[in-house]
Structures are given as structure tokens and as C-alpha cells.
């Protein structure tokens, strides 16, 4: 905070203030001292000597004066910097408080979303199921069809809520790194996905021998759950679906590639790939809500790594994951 005293001090001890003082004092000294000396001494030799002493005396005095002014100038700058730093610190503290308040609000929002939004959906699903299973006598096929559509819609909404919660939760997960082998984790995720009969024909190749990571295992799991479910989904309708996960080297750095031979996407829309709710495919064959890859990107940001994709329509997609300092051992 600046105040009037400080402003006056600043203007006196500024470079302009110091120069002005020097100029005024010098001019006054020369004008008055010369006229006194000339009035007091007649002898030219004495006058010359006195002028020299006067000059030396003036330099000595102004040197002290200049020293004092420079010290004051430095102090003024220090004080201004100090008060500016304090102001900045206050501002940072205020922002931190605002942010933590916002974080808390966000947390309670997520909490209430998970409770209060799921509860009515459970009622919709439960009671429509109960009607179909145990009270369907006299219901027309159209009514049964509508009921099953109500259930399907409620299920979709429930998945959407779960995915949104994961997306919101990812950046808040407190990273607890541990060393683990990647292959079993990926195999487990693939096993869970393979239980879906839609993916019965999908051929899977995992080449991650001896790949060990030091990272938060739950984050890595979220990462592969999303990448692999996409790979399975978008290759499920080609003749011989194939999903590969491998560790490769690019410019001396290890990269993990998740590849599929599915429908691919147009690289022209690449900028939309990781944006929440943006889907590059629509239609009934590929259900989804466009949150998966946004979650992937958030996980990678949290792990201080990066993700990029290459794709060609009709040929497939590959996602490359870079994890600096995280892949500790690889073949």
C-alpha cells in the first residue's frame, strides 16, 4: 500500500530529485561563494588557491551529500519493493482462500451429484424393471417397449454420472506412486472388457514384458480402462478386430502404444479429441458420452506425462503415452 509520505520521499530520492538537488546546490554554491571570495580577496594568486580549495571542499561536501542521497534512494526502492511484495503475498493468500473454497464447493457438488442424482435413477430403473418382470400382464408390446427404453435411458444417464464423477475426481486423486509391473494391470483391464460378448472376436496382443512403472496405480488403471475400452469399442465392427498394447522406443524414450484396427477418425478433428462431450463418432454402434478421452488427458496431466493420437479413417487408431521418469524398466 502506498501513502502520501512515501510518495514525497520517492519523488525526492528519485534519480530526477537527486539530480535536481545536485544542480540547485551546485549553482547556488558557485554563484554565492564566488562573489564572497572575490569581495574578500584582491590578490590573484591567493584568489586562485582559494578557488582550488573551494572546489575541493565542494567536491568533498557533494560526495557526502551524494552518498546520503544514494543510500536514501536505495532505501526508498527497497521499501517500495517490500510493500509491493506484501501486497502480492496478500493477493496470493486471498486467491488461495478463494480457490480452496471453490475446491470444497466442487467436492460437495460431486458428492451430492453421486448421491442425489443416482437415487432417483435407481427408483426409475428398479420400478420399471419390477413392472416388466412381475406386473406385465395386460401391458401392450408398445408399453413394454417404452418401459425398456426408460430403463436403457436411465442406465445411460447413470453411466454418464459415473464418468463425470471420475473426470472430476481424477485431478483430485492424491498421487501415491509405487513401483509395479504394467502387464498384469493391462491384462486385467482387458479381461474385464473381454467379458462383454460384443468383444468375443477381438484379438488382443500385449507386448509389455518387463515394463515397470513408478506411478499411482489407480490413475494408470483409469488411463488404460478408458484407452482400451475405446480401442475395443471402435474396432468391434471390423472383420477381424485387433487391439495391441506395446512398449516402443522413440528418440531413445520409451512410449506405450495402444493400437486398434478399428474405424479410426479424421485427423482434421484432432483438436476436439480430448474435449469433454465432444464425440467424433455418433450412431447406435458406438455408444458413449465423450468423457473418456477427456479423463485420459486429465490423468496424463496429473502424471506429468502426455498423450497423442494418430488415426486414419478405416485403418485404425494408435494412442501414444509418454511418461517421463515413470517407466523405470523396459526391455
Amino acid at each position: 500500500m502506498y501513502h502520501a509520505g512515501m510518495r514525497i520521499r520517492e519523488s525526492i530520492f528519485s534519480p530526477l530529485g537527486i539530480t535536481t538537488i545536485y544542480l540547485v546546490m551546485g549553482s547556488l554554491w558557485i554563484t554565492f561563494s564566488d562573489s564572497w571570495v572575490v569581495a574578500a580577496v584582491q590578490d590573484v594568486q591567493t584568489l586562485t588557491r582559494l578557488q582550488s580549495y573551494k572546489g575541493l571542499f565542494y567536491i568533498a561536501i557533494t560526495a557526502f551529500g551524494l552518498y546520503y542521497l544514494l543510500v536514501q534512494h536505495r532505501l526508498t526502492i527497497l521499501k517500495a519493493t517490500e510493500s509491493y511484495t506484501k501486497e502480492l503475498e496478500n493477493r496470493v493468500q486471498e486467491r488461495t482462500q478463494d480457490l480452496s473454497l471453490l475446491n470444497k464447493e466442487m467436492e460437495s457438488f460431486s458428492y451430492s451429484v453421486s448421491h442425489d442424482l443416482q437415487s432417483p435413477l435407481r427408483a426409475v430403473l428398479g420400478f420399471s424393471e419390477e413392472i416388466v418382470q412381475h406386473h406385465s400382464e395386460g401391458l401392450s408390446p408398445t408399453a413394454t417397449n417404452y418401459l425398456s427404453r426408460i430403463s436403457a435411458a436411465a442406465k445411460r444417464m447413470s453411466v454418464l454420472i459415473d464418468d463425470l464423477l471420475t473426470l472430476a475426481r481424477v485431478s483430485k486423486i492424491e498421487s501415491k506412486p509405487s513401483e509395479f509391473e504394467l502387464q498384469p494391470l493391462v491384462a486385467e483391464v482387458i479381461h474385464d472388457l473381454s467379458l462383454n460378448p460384443v468383444y468375443a472376436n477381438t484379438k488382443v496382443s500385449i507386448r509389455l514384458q518387463e515394463v515397470r512403472l513408478v506411478a499411482d496405480e489407480s490413475l494408470i488403471r483409469i488411463l488404460f480402462e478408458n484407452l482400451l475400452s475405446n480401442a475395443f469399442k471402435y474396432s468391434s465392427r471390423v472383420t477381424s478386430p485387433h487391439v495391441e498394447v506395446e512398449c516402443i522406443r522413440a528418440n531413445g524414450h520409451p512410449l506405450i502404444a495402444v493400437r486398434d484396427n478399428g474405424i479410426g477418425f479424421d485427423m482434421l478433428h484432432y483438436d476436439k479429441l480430448f474435449t469433454p462431450f465432444q464425440r467424433l463418432h455418433h450412431g447406435e454402434g458406438y455408444p458413449g458420452n465423450g468423457i473418456g478421452l477427456a479423463t485420459v488427458q486429465r490423468v496424463m496431466r496429473h502424471l506429468k506425462g502426455s498423450v497423442r493420437a494418430e488415426s486414419e479413417i478405416g485403418k485404425g487408431t494408435v494412442f501414444y503415452i509418454t511418461l517421463e521418469n515413470t517407466i523405470v524398466a523396459h526391455a
Binding site: P120, K155, S158
Partner: protein, 143 residues
């Protein structure tokens, strides 16, 4: 006449109460269900300090306790049960929508015997209730 092998369900949401009753019915768990519509009611019923409500002389086989309830939430009820001589070793299962790790940890820390997340899907909900029923059935037989 109340079956001595009854279940006490503590939940403020009438839809969830009906669904839980339906799930128990569909799991062929033939037992009576007493419903407390909030934490206070449950405490009054089991600690028998109210004349307005039927104070239950026989303790339930198990209490199914929701967390998110107004005024007195499930954790408060759990703590009150554990602090009271009559209910300190009563089997209590938390049955809630929350999958939050902190809620699960808190539930066990306050003395819950089990924690069940209420699945949105009714088939999974029934399955969860069925598993729970079988677990308590085995436990009661061994007792």
C-alpha cells in the same frame, strides 16, 4: 406378531425403502422388515426411550443403514448405536449410494460390520441384497 429374525432398515428415501423391500422379496429372504424413516426414529426404537414408537424388545438380526439422511446422518446413528450398551455389538451394514473412499473408511472406523454400495441397476441391487442375506444367514446359523 413380529418375526424375531427381522431386519431394521433405516432410510429416509421412500423409493429406496420400497426398492430394498422389493429386493429382499425377490431374493427370497423371508423375514420381517421394520423401517425407521430417520436416525432418531431408529435410535428411539432400539434404545426404547419413546412411547410414541414401538420400542423393539428383540434386537434385529441386522440393521441396514443409509448414510445420507437429514438431521442425523448414518454416521451419527452408527456412533450412537456403538456407544449404547444394548446395541454396541449389533450387526450394522451401511447401505448407501456413496462409493467415496472416505465414507467407506469412516463407516468401518465407526464400527460398521459391512459396507454395501447401492447399485443403480436393480438386478445388481437385488444381487447385493441376496449376497448380504446369505452372509447373515450363514452367520446366524453358526451362532
Amino acid at each position: 406378531m413380529l418375526d424375531p429374525d427381522y431386519i431394521l432398515l433405516v432410510d429416509d428415501n421412500p423409493d429406496d425403502v420400497d426398492l430394498a423391500i422389493l429386493a429382499l422379496k425377490r431374493s427370497h429372504l423371508d423375514c420381517d422388515i421394520v423401517v425407521a424413516r430417520n436416525g432418531f426414529e431408529a435410535l428411539k426404537m432400539l434404545h426404547g426411550d419413546s412411547s410414541a414408537l414401538p420400542s423393539l424388545r428383540v434386537l434385529p438380526k441386522v440393521v441396514l443403514l443409509d448414510i445420507n439422511m437429514p438431521v442425523m446422518n448414518g454416521f451419527d446413528v452408527l456412533q450412537a448405536f456403538r456407544a449404547h450398551e444394548r446395541t454396541q455389538s449389533l450387526p450394522i451394514v451401511i447401505l448407501t449410494s456413496s462409493k467415496e473412499e472416505q465414507d467407506i473408511a469412516k463407516g468401518y472406523a465407526y464400527g460398521a460390520n459391512s459396507y454395501i454400495h447401492k447399485p443403480v441397476d436393480f438386478a445388481n441391487f437385488t444381487e447385493a441384497i441376496k449376497q448380504l442375506g446369505m452372509y447373515w444367514l450363514v452367520l446366524n446359523q453358526t451362532n
